[in-house]
């Protein structure tokens, strides 16, 4: 059995794929959050950061394609694994889980996060699509603010708004987009919910990643679980701090 078929065609191989792409996406989620948090440092910081990313040129496309590939593989293995799982158990139990040691119920029933990975994952994918349309493709019809983000540009000082800027030539006013975008309560709430789901997904996914890659053992397993939950909570707080701060007027 070849290495590649071993990865793509066996249950454990696909779990590695899931875990490795998951780890990559986790890395992206962390970096993206750290970048976004520059919004608290004021317009010039985040706009300059955005401009630097844009300046990467072809490298940016390499990163984007890599990211897209990971998302694709992650979703492909998820769907494949889930359909196999459905086939493996076609009949559900009639009775609800009621062990004679009632306190052990929670150990026996799969945790909410573990049970719902495929759903949280698919909703996150849908959210990611909206998010791209919202801020990357800047589709005006969906931002709910009645504004066209395509017209938000700044001058070379990264703070002064620029009328009639030109894509690819002038710097986008990311700061203004964020403020305008999250001023819409419905959008902010949707972002908070989606990020919440992302973190539910991560709280299980990260610990399962360590398991699937075979890193867990009885000495460090518990710490890996704690890391998963801790990272998920930090990511949640980090991300929601932006729409919440905009809504309450902490950043304007």
């Amino acid at each position: 059995m070849g290495f590649i078929t071993g990865i793509f065609k066996t249950s454990l191989g696909r779990k590695y794929l899931m875990a490795i792409t998951g780890a990559g996406l986790f890395g992206f989620v962390v970096m993206h959050m750290l970048g976004n948090l520059l919004v608290f440092a004021g317009p010039s910081a985040i706009n300059e950061y955005a401009a630097k990313l844009q300046a990467l040129g072809p490298l940016l496309w390499v990163a984007r394609i890599g990211l897209l590939g990971m998302v694709g593989l992650h979703i492909w293995s998820a769907i494949k694994l889930t359909s196999e799982n459905r086939e493996a158990r076609t009949v559900e139990y009639e009775a609800a889980v009621e062990p004679v040691d009632a306190h052990r119920r929670d150990d026996i029933v799969a945790k909410f996060a573990a049970r719902t990975m495929i759903f949280s994952g698919l909703i996150i994918a849908a959210f990611a699509f909206y998010h791209l349309a919202h801020y990357t493709w800047k589709v005006p019809q969906i931002n709910g603010a009645g504004a066209d983000f395509e017209s938000f540009y700044v001058t070379a000082d990264f703070t002064t708004p620029l009328e009639g800027g030109e894509e690819g030539k002038d710097h986008a006013d990311v700061f203004k987009m964020i403020i305008t975008g999250f001023k819409v309560p419905a959008v902010s709430v949707f972002y908070v919910v989606a990020v919440g789901l992302l973190c539910v997904h991560l709280s299980h996914g990260l610990s399962a990643m360590f398991q699937s890659l075979g890193f867990k053992n009885k000495n460090i397993g518990l710490w890996m679980d704690r890391f998963a939950v801790g990272a998920a909570v930090l990511i949640f707080l980090g991300y929601i701090s932006i729409p919440v701060s905009v809504l309450v007027g902490f950043i304007k």
Binding site: F3, G6, L12, Y93
Partner: protein
């Protein structure tokens, strides 16, 4: 003398693999708390035979928690849910008078039902036949003390080797995954020096057979570990994942 109980049973009845099956309800009268769960079923079955009906078919043999034959889901829980206990060692004192108890067979595509609560677990044997062994011929072996085994490794191997192959892990898993079973075997044999020569081959072959049998995948929910009568740890699945990755790199490269 403890008080006797009366119980309602809701039991899965299925005449053979092709039959669609259905639940039937029975009354269990004068059940002593000192009975084991299977003895309670014996009493019900005696009553069924006496009234001209066919008894409930269920698997059991040693009735002391080691052979792994007994297999039933009691109130939605494989083996009934007492920590580290098989159905045969579960006693009626954990139930109370008037309760309704639902009894179902292991549910997994890879474990088709033979009849009532009796399922076909030969998939486990087939996985074992692909590599769950160390290839030694009788007689052609070194002295037992010629190869020292570190005590910690040997103890850990024993933790895994305790698996009784009952299939509760598969029954409890929402994906009907057999990974805890396969991991226990792969871990046991990879932890002892005698198992090293076939280490990679074994991992690749057993995992392949596991997939071919139609078991699901591990989504790390931990249900298997929670119902395992021998309390085999989920860590062994991580070890199997490690073993398999190692095998893919060492042997599986194109």
């Amino acid at each position: 003398m403890d008080k006797l109980m009366n119980l309602k049973l809701k039991v899965w009845r299925q005449d053979n693999a092709e039959d669609l099956g259905r639940f039937e309800e029975y009354e269990a009268h004068d059940i002593s708390p000192d009975m084991s769960f299977l003895e309670m079923l014996d009493v019900v079955n005696e009553g069924l035979i006496e009234s001209g009906k066919e008894p409930i078919a269920f698997d059991s043999d040693c009735r002391e928690g080691i052979c792994g034959t007994c297999s039933m889901v009691i109130n939605g829980t494989a083996h009934g849910g007492q920590k580290g206990t098989t159905a045969c060692q579960l006693h009626m004192r954990h139930f109370s008078d008037g309760m309704t108890i639902t009894i179902e067979p292991w549910r997994a595509t890879a474990f088709p039902v033979h009849r009532d609560l009796v399922v076909d677990r030969t998939a486990f044997d087939r996985i074992q036949q692909k590599g769950g062994f160390i290839s030694v011929r009788t007689g052609s072996v070194p002295d037992a003390n010629a190869i020292p085994v570190p005590k910690d490794d040997s103890d850990l191997a024993m933790d895994a080797a305790q698996c009784i192959g009952c299939g509760a892990c598969v029954a409890a898993c929402k994906n009907a995954s057999a990974m805890l079973f396969v991991a226990a075997k792969i871990s046991h044999l990879s932890l002892v020096p005698q198992g090293q020569p076939e280490r990679e081959r074994r991992a690749l072959a057993m995992v392949k057979q596991m997939d071919d049998e139609g078991f699901g995948n591990c989504t790390v929910t931990g249900s298997c570990e929670a119902v395992c009568p021998k309390e085999i740890s989920l860590d062994f699945i991580a070890r199997m994942n490690r073993e398999y990755g190692r095998a893919l790199i060492k042997k599986g490269t194109i």
